[in-house]
């Protein structure tokens, strides 16, 4: 296996799933985003989004907080320092791979 492929094989599999990388790409640029925004951007059903969020929370990449804005319940998601670091590493690995495999 070439070193390029090795670098791709080393990527964080938890983040490599497109829906989860989309979630982290959103959360990395904001303080927090609610469930509805993430659902809209990922195009996932509520159930599927919940599962992906739970996996990211279990890994310590995000924090989920249930709160209210006025009388409206909100499920806010924030990226943790660890999550942010993992996502940036993942993105750099992908960029590196694309750069190295350019013809």
């Amino acid at each position: 296996m070439s070193s390029d492929l090795h670098s791709l094989a080393d990527v964080d599999r938890l983040i490599h799933e497109p829906s989860r990388s989309t979630i982290l790409a959103i959360l990395v640029v904001v303080e927090s985003a609610d469930f509805l925004y993430l659902q809209r951007e990922t195009g996932l059903t509520k159930g599927n989004l919940s599962v992906h969020l739970s996996k990211l929370e279990e890994a310590g990449y995000i924090k989920i907080e249930k709160t209210y804005r006025g009388k409206i319940p909100l499920t806010l998601c924030r990226i943790t320092g660890e999550g942010s670091k993992a996502f940036i590493t993942y993105r750099n690995q992908l960029k590196q791979f694309v750069e190295n495999t350019k013809e």
Partner: protein, 213 residues
């Protein structure tokens, strides 16, 4: 995939400008300040009208966000200090230093006639215009660039070289300052209103999805 992730990041960063609430709030600040300056004035009246106007506008923008924006796109809370904030801060500081330095140099070299208070409003329009250009460049929104152009155009018309000669009633040019604020207020409100209308048309409410796993 990296392009896709960058696109998501860019889109998320731009939502705060898409619905036009920034201009609605900016426009209301200018509008109420302009109205307070142009109406028969006493300091208490000016402050009262300005404060009440801003509070009412704040409630209105908050209502629009809760009633129309969040149900469509969801709730996003932006960072007060973005990651690249230090460079932006450095850039703004540098620009401020250059502006202050420029004003000092101008103060030394310009003839006495240009130091008159009637030049205060044109100088302010220049400052507001440049600030809006820089902001438009930073957030990559053409609407703020157009507002900057309006500010500069207003500056030309309100200077003693343009309509300012006709409009000057008081020696300190408060009427011109009020007119400038009013022009900027109406322009920003129009820009924000148009953006909000386009947002409502292009961003329908999300359909309910089944809750299956």
């Amino acid at each position: 995939m990296t392009d896709e992730l960058s696109g998501i990041t860019r889109r998320t960063n731009r939502w705060k400008f898409t619905a036009g609430t920034t201009e609605l709030m900016l426009g209301s600040v200018f509008f109420w300040a302009g109205l307070a300056l142009l109406l028969p004035r006493k300091p208490t009246f000016f402050i009262g009208l300005f404060v009440i106007g801003i509070v009412l506008s704040g409630f209105l923008v908050n209502f629009l966000q809760n009633r129309f924006i969040y149900p469509r796109i969801g709730y996003l809370e932006y960072r007060l200090r973005p990651r690249k904030g230090i460079w932006r801060l450095f850039f703004v500081l540098l620009l401020s230093l250059v502006s202050v330095g420029g004003l000092i140099v101008l103060n030394i070299i310009v003839p006495d006639i240009l130091r008159s208070p009637v030049w205060f409003t044109p100088a302010l329009t220049l400052l507001v215009g440049i600030t809006l250009f820089v902001y438009a460049f930073l957030v990559k929104q053409v609407r703020f660039f157009l507002l900057g152009l309006i500010s500069l155009t207003a500056g030309i018309f309100l200077s003693p070289l343009g309509l300012g000669k006709v409009l000057t009633i008081d020696p300190f040019g408060i009427d011109k300052l009020g007119l400038f604020f009013l022009i900027m207020g109406v322009s920003s409100l129009f820009s924000g209103g148009s953006a909000f209308r386009a947002f409502l048309r292009l961003t329908p409410l999300m359909e309910e999805t089944p809750d299956e796993l």
